[in-house]
């Protein structure tokens, strides 16, 4: 029996279907678990928190969801070393829950993905995530090549990493900065980030390496039909592009 992956759904989550679909197309055994039955979340091998607007992003994106009963199970699983992967709103929730970078304790956030800058508006833009850590530093990225570029779509109004200078230093020195925004050719500069994120941050990992939070959506550039530049003879329905990260996640479970 292959490892079981839960994709919890909060009220307001909106990317759960494509997240499950890509996990399955990458060989994962994933299913949705609904907020009205959080007790069903016990016993899974891994958890993927998908995008959306859980609890309407009230207070701050992810702030309310971090205190939902769903997160009791996710926090418990993280403590047991199980794999947790959050995308966009899922990433915001993981930060608010204090799981990443995870330097102060549970439900004690030390950084937040918050209002974009300089323009505090929703932005939908194709981007690349560049892997900044040694791949094996994080279980989810272990199968990626060093410096891997992952195509994805940024689609958020609150994706800018914000923290005090001390906490930012802690993120860098603790090797928590898993991904930064990059251009298609791998160059990294201020213009590559769509949201003014500190450190150009697109993703963070916890100290233990079992919890990864990324803002952009690889699953929205996860199949050949999403980009139409496939190699000759390949099915238009085959996973590709951003699927590289989902595949690495599924491989880490086998």
């Amino acid at each position: 029996m292959s490892a079981r992956i839960a994709v919890p759904v909060f009220p307001g989550t909106n990317s759960e279907e494509e997240t499950v679909r890509l996990l399955r197309d990458c060989g994962g055994n994933a299913e949705l678990v609904h907020w009205s039955s959080p007790e069903l979340l016990a016993g899974y091998d891994a958890y993927v928190l998908s995008g959306g607007f859980a609890y309407e992003d009230r207070v701050r994106a992810g702030a309310i969801a971090a205190h939902d009963r769903i997160m009791d199970y996710v926090i418990d699983a993280a403590g047991n070393g199980k794999l947790i992967f959050g995308v966009c709103n899922g990433a915001q929730i993981l930060l608010e829950a204090g799981l990443v970078p995870g330097t102060a304790g549970l439900r004690k956030p030390t950084a937040a993905f918050t209002k974009n800058a300089p323009v505090p508006h929703f932005v939908c833009r194709h981007v690349y995530l560049k892997l900044m850590i040694e791949p094996e530093r994080c279980a989810v990225t272990a199968s990626l090549p060093r410096g891997a570029l992952v195509p994805a779509w940024a689609a958020h109004a609150e994706g800018r990493l914000a923290a005090t200078p001390e906490r930012l230093n802690e993120i860098v020195s603790g090797n928590h900065l898993a991904f930064v925004y990059a251009h298609a050719d791998g160059r990294v500069d201020v213009a590559a980030a769509p949201n003014g994120s500190a450190l150009g941050c697109a993703g963070l990992v916890n100290g233990r390496g079992n919890v990864l939070a990324i803002m952009p959506h690889p699953e929205r550039d996860g199949w050949n039909f999403n980009h139409l530049d496939r190699s000759e003879g390949e099915s238009v329905l085959a996973p590709s592009g951003g699927a590289i990260l989902f595949r690495s996640f599924v491989e880490a479970l086998s």
Partner: protein, 738 residues
């Protein structure tokens, strides 16, 4: 039996704020044999408004073709449906709806536009479909207030659509002083459904005594009088009092409501139950429940005390007719109803998601064709359901629109060097990216061509299937001002060209007719002429209209109507999205073809706007249009078509520049060198990049040049740097949408 309603309308408190005319009121009194109650008065006011009844427009709309092999469901319900294709032995349909939210958006731009998305999404959901895309044709004015409207509307659309997780796939925007007092906010939505699982918006056979289930937000006083509000002209002095007629959006609740409804739909499939589902829009609980039962040949009995309300003490007419958002109405067998209520309230916790939101049985379907409302034990409304909802007609006089005979211009010498940068920087040509970047174009993971990437957006909506859907919109207000009928024809043709340019097969159309006051014969004449134009073009191109919307009274207090705006969306299909024509010039050494009309006229063009000139609109030759589509398709089939753009605002050279910009943005160094009469000609057709040895039949095509390996556009001997032009083109709208 009919009881006499207890509360009878008396004096100003009962009759103020209703838009019913005296003759209509007399007809009601005569039919009832008494004065209507307050509730009845407001019910007829909503139900007989133009917004609900299409009383003046319906007879003309019958002229639109609405049948054909691809039509799964024509106009008449909440949305229409077109055949998409077969996957795993199942036939799939694309559900298509088109609405306007013009009046609310002018008064409160953010909420007005957001509720527009909310309403159209419910129209698609009600057909049993999963909502897969929205698109927004927008028309804004150019004064300071219009700018405030333009910002609020875009933020409203974004905040709502992004939250519910439906990608914004297509749309357009024009800025024209004709919309200073009345913006246009149209919205198109698409859904996907197995054809065998379409749900209708009328009570099915054998539905007598079935439960009427109201689902969603607690009914509140917002949106009271909305239907009649939409059928009045806007008076700036009254806009404050009108604000109460605009509904309040709740995308968070809608997101949950959509997902819960998908769960209910799968329960009904398991149980093989044929139910009815309808969106609550104009006329609120009353309008929705009356129509869904009347169209099945039934009556209804509803107890307003069973309606979940947000505040106590609301008068019965407000509960009955108020247009609170985020509500749906099911007609279900009683045993299934209980289970459906549980899914909404327990599995999806509606009461915890929004204050007093829930699903509840509020009444039953009756066999006697009476529409009865009870409130606190008393009957407050009791009327013949067919009389209430039946077709009232109002054949208004109109003035024939005279087509102005504008003499054909002598070909003018255009200064390409001076004009091209001005054309590309024109507000109606410049990049729309600053605007659509605020919309989520890729949620659901099905997007093939996102908004702005090409002439149409493309989706692969069925997991595991290569079937594809393309969506485009068109409707040039500069054309509308010159000739409403011809503008409507151009809107059809241009919308079609746009889906052809991405490689899709055009399948069908939907329209929104935005016009002035139907009680002014000269304004109504524009509407009548436009419908004739739509019908002519659709018939000639063999494309059915499967849904549509009419928005009249787009006239300011000063008596000025908006430019005639027949806005058309075209739906195209792909058997395999691998056949999509991808954006941007591909390589040096390709032939560049101009396919289609090359007639040079100034009317309605961007350069006429820039230079203050006038002229006739381009003529349309339908045989030539069909031939041009045939050439593009032939080039695709032969594998010769490398890139393509439909010629539109800014003319042929703008289409070519867009192809060069897309290559530039994608990091390819490809340019073009062309020699072609007047490059600003907007008469239509396509610019195609084809392999030089393609062997396609070039009858009707003109070879205007070739692609080069330089980042340069060489137009009639004048050289432009692509990067410089790109910068001019990409900036202007960032001023409004930073």
């Amino acid at each position: 039996m009919a009881e006499r309603p207890s509360a009878v309308a008396q004096g100003p408190s009962g009759t103020s704020n209703v838009a019913l005319r005296d003759d209509e009121l007399q007809r009601i009194k005569q039919r009832l044999g008494r004065d209507p109650s307050v509730v009845e008065l407001h019910a007829f006011d909503a139900q007989w408004s133009e917004h609900c009844s299409y009383k003046s427009s319906r007879s003309h709309l019958n002229a639109l073709p609405s049948s054909g092999a691809a039509v799964v469901l024509g106009p008449g319900e909440d949305a229409g449906a077109l055949h998409l294709g077969t996957h795993a032995g199942e036939r799939y349909a694309v559900v298509v709806a088109h609405e306007s939210h013009n009046h609310p958006s002018q008064v409160v731009p953010f909420e007005g536009a957001a509720t527009g998305i909310g309403g159209i999404v419910r129209d698609v959901l009600c057909m049993g479909a999963e909502v897969i895309a929205v698109a927004d044709p927008l028309r804004f004015g150019r004064n300071a207030h219009a700018r405030h409207v333009a910002v609020g509307v875009v933020d409203g659309i974004g905040s709502y659509g992004n939250a519910i997780g439906v990608p914004n796939l297509a749309g357009d925007v024009y800025f024209d002083a004709g919309f200073d007092d009345n913006c246009l906010v149209n919205v198109v939505a698409l859904g996907i459904v197995k054809e065998a699982e379409l749900i209708h918006s009328y009570a099915p056979k054998g539905a007598e005594d079935w439960a009427i289930v109201l689902v969603g937000k607690a009914t509140d006083p917002s949106g009271f009088g909305g239907a009649s509000f939409s059928s009045l002209t806007l008076d700036a002095r009254e806009s404050e009092t009108n604000k109460g007629a605009v509904q309040v959006p709740d995308p968070f609740l809608k997101s949950v409501l959509m997902r819960a409804t998908y769960r209910v739909l799968s329960l009904l499939r398991e149980r093989k139950v044929t139910a009815a589902l309808k969106d609550l829009g104009a006329g609120g609980i009353m309008g929705c429940s009356a129509e869904v039962t009347a169209h099945g040949g039934y009556g209804a009995e509803i107890d307003l005390d069973l309606v979940n309300v947000a505040v106590d003490g609301m008068p019965p007419e407000v509960i009955a007719v108020g247009e609170t958002q985020e509500r749906l109405l099911w007609i279900l067998p009683p045993d299934v109803a209980a289970e459906v209520v549980r899914i909404y309230n327990d599995d999806f916790t509606l009461p915890q998601v929004a204050y007093n939101a829930r699903a509840a049985v509020i009444g039953r379907v009756t066999g006697d064709r009476r529409y009865v409302l009870r409130y606190r034990g008393a009957v407050v409304m009791d009327v013949d359901n067919q009389f209430l909802t039946g077709s009232i007609r109002d054949d208004l006089p109109y003035t024939e629109v005279i087509r102005h005979d504008v003499p054909a211009q002598e070909p003018m010498d255009v200064d390409v060097a001076a004009l091209l940068p001005r054309v590309l920087g024109h507000r109606d040509v410049a990049s729309r990216e600053p605007l659509y970047r605020r919309y989520d174009a890729v949620v659901r993971g099905c997007t093939v061509l996102p908004r702005g990437a090409a002439d149409a957006g493309v989706l692969a909506p069925i997991p595991g299937s290569p079937l594809g859907v393309a969506l485009s919109v068109a409707g040039n207000p500069r054309y509308g001002r010159i000739d409403p009928g011809y503008a409507a024809e151009h809107a059809v043709v241009e919308a079609m060209r746009r889906v052809v340019a991405v490689g899709a097969r055009p399948a069908g159309l939907t329209d929104c007719l935005n016009f002035g006051n139907p009680r002014k014969p000269e304004q109504y004449g524009e509407f009548v002429t436009a419908v004739e134009g739509l019908a002519r073009a659709a018939t000639e191109l063999d494309l059915p209209f499967v849904s549509g919307n009419v928005s009249l009274y787009n006239e300011s207090a000063r008596g000025r109507a908006v430019p005639a705006s027949a806005i058309v969306a075209c739906i195209g299909t792909f058997e395999d999205v691998a056949g999509v024509v991808t954006p941007g010039l591909k390589q040096a050494g390709s032939a560049l073809l101009w396919i289609g009309s090359r007639e040079f006229v100034l009317g309605g063009s961007v350069i006429s706007d820039l230079l203050g000139l006038e002229g006739a609109l381009p003529s349309i030759s339908y045989p030539a249009e069909r031939a041009a589509v045939g050439i593009v398709h032939d080039a695709i089939v032969r594998g010769a078509l490398r890139s393509c753009r439909a010629v539109s605002d800014g003319g042929m050279v703008t289409a070519l520049a867009r192809l060069a910009f897309d290559a530039f943005a994608d990091g390819r160094t490809v340019g073009a060198e062309i020699e072609a009469g007047n490059p600003f000609c907007e008469s239509g057709g396509f610019i195609c990049e084809v392999s030089d040895d393609s062997g396609i039949d070039l009858t009707g095509a003109l070879r205007i040049g070739a692609t080069t390996d330089r980042r340069e556009l060489m137009v009639n001997g004048v050289s432009f740097d692509v990067a410089e032009l790109y910068s001019i083109w990409s900036q202007p709208l960032a001023e409004i949408y930073p």
